[in-house]
C-alpha cells in the first residue's frame, strides 16, 4: 500500500446474522486528509470504524491502516491510532486526568511525557479546572471533550472520530468542530464520521457517503455536486394563472414541469443556466413573473440523491 494512504479497504464486508451491515466497501483515505464519512443513521459507518480499530472482525475483505494490515487483535496498528467512539463511556470513578494518565501508560509514555501531554490536552479541550473531577460528574459535552482528549493522548498519526458531536447542543457542536479543526492543523489525518451534512461540510475536504452498507460516493466535497446528478429546480411564481404558460414550459426539452395554481416548478435535466430562456417562454405566453428562483444542486441535494429522502431523517 502506498505510504500516503492512511486507510485502505478492499471489498470490506460485515454481516450480522443475515443482515449485511457493510457491503464490499472499497475506501481510500489519503494521509493528512480530513475525510468525512457521511451517511444516515444505520448506514454502516460505526461498523466500518469498529473494524478499523479492531472491535469487530470483517466477515470478508481486508483493510490496512497506515500501511499495516488489520487482521485480528493488532495492538501495533492501534498504537498509531487515536479513536473516539460514538457516545464514549469511560470509567466514571476516574478523573479526567487519571483517565488520560492510565491510557498514556498503555501507550508506554513516560511520566514526564504524560504530564506534559495531559496539561496540553486538558487545555485544548477546554476542561481546565475540571481535570481532577470524576468523569461521573461530567456533562455529556465534557465527556465528549475528554473523549477527544484520550484519542489524542499519544499524538497519533491517524485520528478516528465516530460521530463526535452526537447528542451535543449547538454550542457544543461548534466547539467540537473547532477542536477537530485544531487537530487538523497539527497535520494529523482525521477520519470523521457523521450523519450531519453541515458538520462534514464545515470540517472536511474529502467525503465518503455510505448508505445501507454500500459506498455511494467518495471524493472531494467540491466534486460531489458535479459528479452526482443532483437535479436543480426553477420555481416561478406568476401574478395570476395564465392559460398557455404550462404548455409553453412543457415544450422545453431540458425540464419536466409541475404546476400548482400560479406556481410552476421546472425540474432541470441540464447544468446550463436556462433562466433567461424560461423567462422568455413565460412572458411570450402572457405570464407576469412575480418571483423566479433556482433551487437545489448543492451538497444537500447531492446527498439526498445518494441516500434518498429517508436518509435525511
Amino acid at each position: 500500500m502506498p505510504e500516503d494512504r492512511a486507510i485502505e479497504t478492499h471489498d470490506l464486508s460485515k454481516k450480522y446474522g443475515d443482515r449485511l451491515a457493510v457491503d464490499r466497501l472499497n475506501l481510500t483515505v489519503a494521509s493528512k486528509q480530513v475525510h468525512g464519512f457521511l451517511g444516515p443513521n444505520g448506514a454502516g459507518k460505526s461498523t466500518t470504524i469498529k473494524m478499523m480499530v479492531g472491535l469487530l472482525r470483517p466477515t470478508t475483505g481486508s483493510l490496512s491502516i497506515l500501511g499495516q494490515g488489520v487482521s485480528g487483535d493488532n495492538p501495533r496498528v492501534r498504537r498509531k491510532i487515536g479513536y473516539m467512539p460514538e457516545l464514549p463511556r469511560f470509567p466514571k470513578h476516574l478523573s479526567g486526568e487519571e483517565l488520560l494518565d492510565v491510557y498514556g501508560r498503555m501507550y508506554g509514555m513516560s511520566k514526564t511525557e504524560r504530564q506534559g501531554r495531559i496539561t496540553e490536552l486538558i487545555k485544548m479541550v477546554g476542561l481546565e479546572g475540571r481535570g481532577k473531577d470524576r468523569i461521573g460528574k461530567y456533562s455529556k459535552g465534557m465527556q465528549q471533550r475528554i473523549g477527544i482528549a484520550q484519542a489524542l493522548i499519544s499524538d497519533p498519526e491517524l485520528v478516528i472520530l465516530d460521530e463526535p458531536s452526537i447528542g451535543l447542543d449547538p454550542v457544543g457542536m461548534v466547539e467540537v468542530r473547532n477542536m477537530v479543526k485544531d487537530i487538523v492543523k497539527s497535520g494529523t489525518t482525521v477520519f470523521f464520521s457523521s450523519h450531519l451534512l453541515a458538520e462534514v461540510q464545515q470540517v472536511c475536504d474529502h467525503v465518503t457517503v455510505i448508505h445501507l452498507g454500500v459506498m455511494r460516493y467518495s471524493g472531494t466535497l467540491e466534486d460531489i455536486s458535479s459528479k452526482v446528478m443532483a437535479r436543480r429546480r426553477i420555481v416561478i411564481e406568476l401574478e395570476k394563472p395564465v392559460d398557455g404558460v404550462l404548455a409553453a414550459l412543457k415544450t422545453m426539452k431540458f425540464a419536466t414541469v409541475e404546476a400548482n395554481m400560479n406556481t410552476y416548478t421546472l425540474h432541470l435535466d441540464t447544468r446550463e443556466d436556462v433562466r433567461a430562456e424560461v423567462s422568455r417562454a413565460v412572458t411570450s405566453a402572457g405570464g407576469v413573473i412575480v418571483k423566479m428562483q433556482e433551487e437545489g444542486g448543492g451538497l444537500e441535494d447531492a446527498f439526498l440523491s445518494l441516500v434518498g429522502k429517508e436518509g435525511m431523517a
Binding site: 450480522y16 460505526s46 469498529k50 480499530v53 479492531g54 472491535l55 469487530l56 472482525r57 487483535d73 495492538p75 501495533r76 492501534r78 498504537r79 491510532i81 479513536y83 467512539p85 460514538e86 457516545l87 464514549p88 463511556r89 469511560f90 470509567p91 466514571k92 470513578h93 476516574l94 487519571e98 492510565v102 491510557y103 501508560r105 498503555m106 501507550y107 508506554g108 473523549g147 484520550q150
Partner: protein, 318 residues
C-alpha cells in the same frame, strides 16, 4: 528489537494492572471484600470470649493453642465461594456493561494482555484478602487464646484459601465473560455452587465418599482418620477433601504427611442403621497433592475457556 517489544509489553501490562486496581479500589470492590472478611474474622475471634462472658455463671476463657490452625481450616464452603465470586463477577462483564471495554480495547494492548492483567489483579486481591484475614486471625488468636501451634503453616493456609477461592472466581469470571452480564455471572455461579452441593450430597448419601467426588469442585469427598467400620460409633476427625478444603489439606500435608484418610461408603439395610465400608484410603500427602492439581486444573481450564471467549468477543453495541 525483541527486548524493546518485551519492555513495551511489560509497561503495558503494568499499566493494565494499575487500571484494574484503580477500578477495583475506586468502585470500592476491594474495600467491600476486606470489610466482609474483617467482620467474619472478628466474629470468629470474639465468639468464644463473648459466649464465655455471657454464660451463667461466666466462664473463664481457656487457652487454645490450635485456634488459628482450626480457624483457617474452618474457612471453607460458602465463604470461599462468596469471596471468589465477589472478586471476579464483574471483572470482564462490568467492562462490557458499562461500555468502558470500547476505549480499553482500542488502546495498544492485546486482548490477551488485558485478560492476563485482570486475572493477576484478581489473584493479588484474593491473596491480599486472605493474608489480611489469616494475619488478623493469627494476631488476634495469639492475643486472645495464647501462644499458637503451627503458625509456620499459615502461609500454606493462605495459598490454599487463595487457590480454593480462585476455583469459584474462575467459574464467575467464565460465566461473566460468556454472558457479559455481572448479575447472570453471580446467579449462575450460585446455581452451579448449589447444584454441586445438592449433587455431592446425593452422591454422598447414596454412595458415600465416592471417588467421583475426588474430582468435583467444592466440598468434595469427606475423609476420616477413623476406621470406616467404626464410623457409626464416632471417633477420628473428618475432612472435606475438595477444592474448598485445600487450605486444610495443604497444612495437613506438611503436618502429618503419612497419616491415612479413609473414604467410606454406606450399605443400606432393610432394618437398622446402614453399615459403612471402606471405599478408598490414602495418605494426607496424596490427598492434598490430588486436591491441589484438581483445583489448579479447574482454575486453568475455566480461565482458558474464559480467555478464549474474551478473545473471540466482538463489540457490536457501543
Amino acid at each position: 528489537m525483541a527486548q524493546k517489544k518485551r519492555a513495551g509489553t511489560l509497561a503495558a501490562f503494568i499499566a493494565l494492572l494499575y487500571y484494574e486496581f484503580l477500578w477495583n479500589i475506586r468502585k470500592k470492590k476491594i474495600i467491600t471484600i476486606f470489610i466482609i472478611i474483617f467482620a467474619i474474622a472478628t466474629v470468629q475471634l470474639a465468639f468464644t470470649p463473648i459466649a464465655d462472658a455471657i454464660a451463667n455463671p461466666p466462664q473463664a476463657l481457656q487457652a487454645n493453642s490450635t485456634f488459628v490452625f482450626a480457624g483457617i481450616e474452618a474457612l471453607t464452603g460458602i465463604f470461599l465461594f462468596l469471596v471468589g465470586v465477589a472478586t471476579t463477577m464483574n471483572t470482564v462483564s462490568g467492562e462490557f456493561e458499562s461500555g468502558t471495554i470500547v476505549p480499553l480495547l482500542t488502546k495498544p494492548v492485546s486482548k490477551t494482555l488485558v485478560f492476563a492483567a485482570k486475572i493477576v489483579a484478581s489473584v493479588i486481591t484474593l491473596l491480599a484478602a486472605y493474608s489480611f484475614l489469616v494475619g488478623y486471625i493469627a494476631i488476634g488468636g495469639t492475643l486472645i487464646y495464647g501462644p499458637q501451634d503451627n503458625l509456620n503453616l499459615v502461609p500454606l493456609g493462605i495459598l490454599g484459601l487463595t487457590i480454593g477461592s480462585m476455583v469459584w472466581a474462575s467459574v464467575a469470571l467464565t460465566l461473566g465473560t460468556l454472558s457479559k452480564n455481572s448479575v447472570l455471572a453471580a446467579l449462575g455461579s450460585f446455581g452451579f455452587y448449589i447444584g454441586l452441593l445438592i449433587g455431592g450430597t446425593l452422591i454422598a448419601a447414596q454412595l458415600g465418599a465416592s471417588t467421583v467426588l475426588f474430582y468435583a469442585p467444592g466440598m468434595g469427598a469427606t475423609g476420616t482418620t477413623a476406621a470406616c467400620a467404626g464410623l457409626e460409633r464416632g471417633g477420628g476427625q473428618t475432612f472435606s477433601t475438595g477444592t474448598d478444603g485445600l487450605a486444610s489439606m495443604l497444612m495437613r500435608w506438611v503436618l502429618n504427611p503419612g497419616q491415612v484418610l479413609n473414604f467410606c461408603g454406606f450399605q443400606f439395610r432393610a432394618s437398622g442403621n446402614p453399615t459403612t465400608t471402606l471405599l478408598a484410603s490414602d495418605t494426607f500427602a496424596n490427598v492434598a497433592f490430588r486436591d491441589l492439581w484438581v483445583s489448579l486444573v479447574y482454575v486453568a481450564g475455566l480461565l482458558l475457556l474464559s480467555w478464549f471467549a474474551f478473545r473471540r468477543s466482538q463489540i457490536v453495541e457501543s
